[in-house]
Symmetry: C2
Subunit: 124 residues, 2 copies
DNA sequence: ACGGTACATCGATGGTCATCAATATCTATG
DNA sequence: CATAGATATTGATGACCATCGATGTACCGT
């Protein structure tokens, strides 16, 4: 059996993520309070690691829109537990979502989440 | 003498910052390598702290486009050395620039730097 | 020159995090 | 059921970092 066969999917537990639209206007335009700054900092923390950026990039640029976790270990040059840890951080940050299909887990980006972060950095 | 008087300006030492345009296409569009990921992660690290986000926000939304360091300590509720430390991190990340005028130091954002980060998060 | 104010630097400390080996859990296959 | 492979979790460790008090440095008004 190959990882590319079609199998019934069971979504991974998705964690509730604070909506940035509720908390944060563009930081160059409107004032943010201490709580909003904490929420926003948590989102950027997920991007503040080279391995996670590579993983996000690998998933986002996968031609099918999703990537098998099994194909992410070798490219980033870290151990399997380390990669699994970083994927969890990205998932908890709402940047990616995972779906278990048989033995394998397929990850895809959550475009709206990246859109929100992009908007926060914008001029208005 | 008031901090708002016009005084001869001497720019703070500006540190050379790696140009993101040279390293990083939109991560949702093109593949990035390990080096690019490190460079990009360093940029996001500067944003991954609530105090720094508040400082950046205070400076960016100042009506004159710049803010005196003396007006940044109280709003973020941290000690003066801590605020000075965070301003240095933001400066080293190329996100803000500082100019010493007499006793005071005035900070302003570097719009192009934030524009670059925004572009990297974009869909294309 | 002196005293005061603004800002930066230093040194110490407690907390957070990236990493990996070992282990556990789940799933498919024989 | 036993085995093998894929992924997640655990526990330990070393590195990094946010924070602050103390101190240093630069500038200004008297």
């Amino acid at each position: 059996m190959s990882k590319n066969d079609v199998i019934a999917a069971s979504p991974l537990l998705e964690l509730p993520v604070l909506d940035l639209a509720d908390c944060c206007a563009p930081i160059r335009r409107e004032t943010i309070d201490a709580e909003g700054a904490v929420t926003l900092a948590e989102a950027f923390k997920a991007l503040a690691d080279p391995v996670r950026l590579q993983l996000l990039n690998l998933i986002a640029t996968a031609d099918t829109g999703e990537a098998c976790a099994c194909d992410l270990v070798e490219p980033v040059g870290k151990s399997q537990p380390t990669v699994s840890h970083h994927l969890k951080v990205l998932r908890e940050a709402g940047l990616i979502s995972g779906e278990k299909r048989g033995t394998w887990v397929w990850y895809s980006v959550v475009p709206s989440r990246l859109d929100e972060l992009q908007r926060v950095l914008g001029r208005r």
